[in-house]
Assembly symmetry: C2
Homo-oligomer: 185 residues x 2
């Protein structure tokens, strides 16, 4: 039930946007009664937070291949693979819907990205411990540098997003780390 | 009249999104009769294209300071200054509205970004001619690497976007160019 409701929440977000999303709409799409939803979630905001958090948290495994280059490449390729599926595009549409208008959505997004970056931080801290990256490299800054070119293409330039995109993002992030321009802000 | 109509188009886009935008709504907001608009533009798509193209084209001057570092820093700081104004946020909301749903909007965005990058290319080609950057550096790839971290923060992480953001984006783009990881794709 829980998985079906959260799946329906993402689909409703992609279709209607955040502002127009209703518990009724999610219930109908998931094929459950709305009282079932209210027993498990306080309101539509709770549904959206859980649905987006669950999706971001489970989508991308954190690799540990032994070198920072192959770890980052694997992370970037996973991100590309996830975001170019139908579900990934629905998720992107969902988080961009009404994007700049709703402060709650901005907070949800910030929390979600912070959680994602914290989760992948071991890739960077292990690389620093192995002497592969400068000690002052900030894990979150490096991971943002890795993600930014991929999201930029997905959202703005409408160019193809593929393994070459992931590999280029990896090269850019590594070049920046080695040039020591990614300390904590 | 023309400026008022295009300004009203951006405001309507930010408020209603692209799918719900009407020539009537723009006319009302601009304080002109809709036949005045139809004398100058074929339809709502024509309005949107002109409004977005005009805004992107005029917002950011192309610097020529003598060094690539200060040129890129100026470009990045102009982008930050533009996109953090009320009008800039309205423009961002406009281009993100219904973002992944409408193929026409994807095409408009791609064309606009391509035009912007072409316009700023001299910053990179002059730097290559001066021997400041590797000859294989692709101008558009470098400019995308410069823009990506700024847009990523604006759209996804909701962190502050300021001169420090611009300067870090400059450092990342230069590090990537010097590492020779930005040839044409």
């Amino acid at each position: 039930m829980r998985a079906a409701v959260l799946e329906a929440t993402i689909a409703e977000l992609a279709k209607t946007g955040y502002a127009a999303l209703t518990v009724e709409g999610v219930a109908q799409r998931a094929g459950v009664h709305k009282t079932t939803i209210y027993r498990n979630w306080k309101d539509a905001d709770g549904l959206v937070t859980d649905a987006l958090a669950g999706r971001f948290a489970t989508d991308i495994p954190v690799p540990d291949t032994g070198t920072v280059e192959s770890d980052l490449r694997a992370l970037a390729r996973s991100l590309v693979a996830t975001m170019t599926t139908g579900q990934g595009r629905a998720l992107l549409t969902a988080v961009l819907s009404d994007a700049v208008r709703l402060p709650q959505l901005a907070e949800i997004k910030r929390d979600l990205f912070e959680a994602r970056f914290r989760q992948a931080e071991p890739v960077v801290t292990r690389a620093i411990a192995r002497g592969e990256l400068p000690a002052e490299t900030d894990p979150a800054e490096l991971l943002k540098t890795l993600a930014a070119p991929i999201y930029f293409r997905l959202v703005f330039t409408s160019e193809p997003v593929d393994e070459a995109t992931a590999d280029r993002a990896t090269d850019i992030a590594l070049a920046a780390a080695h040039a020591r321009v990614l300390p904590a802000v």
